[in-house]
């Protein structure tokens, strides 16, 4: 496929829809997903009714807070960018068969590295933002690379090590923001150190790049979209992407065809960490944030981004609309909590939504096996081998 054929809008749309379209016999899966999403919505409505809330009012509040006007759209798009970046990273390493679940920590470490650089380098204008973002990506990548190293050297289970590293990251950031590393004026007037770093210089703030028509677009979203499309192309079109997918589908075959399994697996893991770290950097230089590093910086963006990747079944292009849906829920949830319904409702909806999307293909596979039919190809993400090394 030449790049020229991609210029046609119809072609892009057709291919995009083809990606969304399930495989043979998959229409049942689509139907089941629709049913399960309806069940998830129904269950959330029931939960609201049982606790004396109003489903219609809550749905309206989520709509108002996220999509009803320019302010809502701005907030939604601001939320979508880090979610999409984290999800794209998760797609890469899941394609290689490595399951990284430590994005929350990698986001935080990205923020830490970004803040460290941002407070130290005195660069003019937009140079500083660029450096902060690069440092954030390197930081997040390095944090994930530690897990890759532990796998390589000692065979430590990747999901477990990335999970444990997340809690280390939270404590590291909590500690770091109260030290002179990130806080020159460590003591406030009360004598108690702030739980946040010094604010970054004013030019370390990502400007919005225009109002279309009155929705403030942010550079972060642009970066995330480029990343999603770029990763999708690289994974599906390039030789490197082919190796990555082969590694994920069958590490043994990959090894025999000359893929350096450990190196490639480790690199994809580090890359997924770098994307999460970049998301952390974006949060740090966000046009609406405080421009300070604190332990709450990641604000579940890591976990939610991982859920986005799960719903998108590790396809970066599908992650674009999914991250938008999750961003709607996040932005709407904030507005919802202002109307007196706890934000946590949105967390329930998110989890149910993931279940509704993850369950159908495996359920169908299960029932077709029950009926004694030939098993279909294994679903994309459900049997991701957790140990590349064990098979190598």
């Amino acid at each position: 496929m030449s790049a020229a054929s991609l210029t046609s809008g119809d072609e892009i749309a057709r291919r995009f829809l083809a990606r969304l379209r399930p495989g043979p016999g998959g229409w049942i899966a689509t139907g089941l997903t629709v049913v399960l999403v309806a069940v998830a919505a129904g269950a959330s409505a029931l939960l609201l009714l049982l606790t004396g809330g109003s489903p219609s009012a809550s749905a309206a509040a989520i709509w108002t807070g996220s999509l009803a006007d320019a302010t809502g759209w701005t907030t939604t798009l601001l939320n979508a960018a880090p979610l999409l970046l984290v999800a794209v990273g998760a797609c890469i390493c899941a394609s290689a068969g490595t399951f990284n679940i430590g994005q929350e920590g990698q986001v935080l470490i990205g923020g830490l590295a970004g803040a460290w650089v941002g407070l130290r380098l005195a660069l003019p204008g937009p140079m500083l933002v660029v450096m902060v973002l690069i440092a954030a990506a390197v930081g997040g990548g390095a944090w994930a690379a530690l897990s890759a190293l532990m796998l390589r050297l000692r065979g430590v289970n990747v999901p477990v090590s990335t999970l444990l590293m997340t809690f280390l990251a939270i404590q590291l950031v909590t500690f770091a923001v109260s030290t002179p590393w990130l806080q020159e004026s460590a003591q406030g007037s009360s004598g108690i150190a702030d739980a946040a770093s010094n604010p970054l210089p004013a030019n370390a703030r990502l400007a919005g790049f225009g109002q279309y028509p009155s929705v403030q677009l942010n550079v972060g979203l642009f970066i995330a979209l480029v990343a999603a499309v770029g990763v999708a192309l690289v994974l599906s079109r390039s030789r490197w992407g082919f190796r990555v997918r082969m590694l994920g589908l069958n590490p043994l075959t990959a090894k025999h065809t000359g893929v350096r399994v450990a190196a490639l697996g480790g690199f994809t893991l580090a890359l997924s960490g770098a994307f999460a770290g970049l998301a952390g950097g974006l949060l740090l230089v966000s046009p609406v944030g405080t421009n300070r590093l604190q332990a709450g910086l990641s604000d579940n963006f890591g976990w939610d981004g991982l859920l986005v990747a799960l719903v998108a079944r590790n396809r970066p292009l599908v992650a674009i609309p999914v991250s938008l849906v999750f961003a709607v829920l996040r932005a709407g949830g904030d507005f919802l909590s202002a109307t007196g319904v706890p934000y946590y409702l949105v967390d329930v909806v998110k989890a149910l939504l993931v279940l509704a999307f993850v369950a159908p293909p495996v359920l169908i596979d299960l029932f077709s096996r029950r009926r004694g039919a030939t098993p279909q190809a294994a679903p994309d993400m459900s049997v991701v081998p957790t140990k590349v090394k064990a098979a190598a």
């Binding site: 606790t51 399951f99 946590y344 495996v362 993400m381």
Partner: protein, 304 residues
């Protein structure tokens, strides 16, 4: 306050913080020996803590609340087992989703409901509780804590001495071989998760109706992950796992007590200690083949 008194206080609070970890770790130990890296233990503890208070508040009995907690854990174990060892959804995915779901659900319900606080009663062993230094911490507890004295040996016997346990270990070590000898691999793993759910539920319920008497948002605050760390730190042996729980419980107690004693120590380091120790333990133990061979890997007949 004398040194002896403050030591007793720290010990007492350390033991109290250890008990819920120890219950859940017994369960997680069984699940991991069967080959499930069960990260939904956090959901099991948190869900059980919530339902125990909700049920106790509704029925007026803390003991009924405790039972409700165990049932909640069982239910979550059942869900996790069927999702990951029947439908073959990746066990980490199931765990993540369950954790997110239970955290969201309990947080939502606790902010929209009022519950009356309930607590099970204290049980003090006469004479033994008068031993200086360790008497109060060890022999004067909320009564469910003493269930540990039976559950730890029972868990050990089940895994190391019963036929069920032998099959369980085979399933965790080499599912293909176990399958060939006629063991139903995924069924054993589901059973192990039921055990895990019941025990983690007991731990969570103990935290709520035992120690605190009420529920607050995200009450377990990552204790489930500390339990996972304890099992890893214990190199998948029950005795060392329990020791790990005690170490982590005591370090938590120190973190809470040291500021009052005027000692400044890095709080973050103490909070991070369990995870750090677990990572170090993994780095050390993996070459000694202590880890169940098939830990975290799904089993499907015909796959390798």
């Amino acid at each position: 306050m004398s040194v002896l008194d403050s030591t007793t206080t720290i010990l007492a609070s350390g033991v109290r913080l250890t008990v819920p970890l120890a219950f859940a770790a017994c369960g997680e130990y069984i699940a991991e020996r069967a080959g499930t890296m069960n990260i939904s233990v956090e959901a099991m503890m948190l869900g059980a803590a919530f339902t125990s208070i909700a049920t106790a508040s509704a029925t007026g009995s803390a003991t009924v609340g405790l039972v409700a907690g165990v049932v909640t854990g069982l239910l979550l174990g059942f869900v996790h087992g069927n999702f990951s060892h029947r439908a073959q959804i990746n066990t980490f995915v199931v765990g993540l989703v369950l954790n997110a779901l239970v955290l969201g659900l309990t947080s939502y319900l606790i902010t929209t409901n009022e519950f009356v606080s309930h607590q099970v009663h204290m049980l003090s062993i006469p004479l033994l509780q008068d031993i200086p230094l360790i008497g109060k911490p060890l022999f004067s507890e909320r009564w469910p804590a003493f269930l540990l004295l039976a559950l730890i040996p029972l868990t050990w016997w089940l895994v190391e001495r019963s036929r069920w346990g032998l099959e369980l270990r085979a399933v965790g070590e080499n599912p293909q071989a176990a399958d060939v000898t006629g063991i139903k691999v995924n069924m054993r793993r589901r059973q192990a998760l039921l055990w895990c759910g019941a025990l983690a539920g007991l731990g969570g319920a103990y935290l709520a109706v035992g120690e605190v008497g009420s529920f607050n948002q995200n009450m377990t605050a990552g204790r489930g992950y500390i339990v996972i760390a304890a099992v890893i730190f214990g190199a998948w042996r029950l005795g060392r796992t329990m020791l790990g729980c005690l170490v982590f419980g005591l370090s938590d107690a120190m973190r809470l007590a040291l500021p009052a004693l005027g000692v400044t120590l890095n709080a973050q380091l103490l909070v991070a200690a369990p995870y750090l120790l677990a990572l170090l333990a993994m780095l050390l133990f993996t070459t000694q083949h202590r880890e169940p061979g098939a830990l975290g890997r799904p089993f499907e007949r015909g796959s390798t």
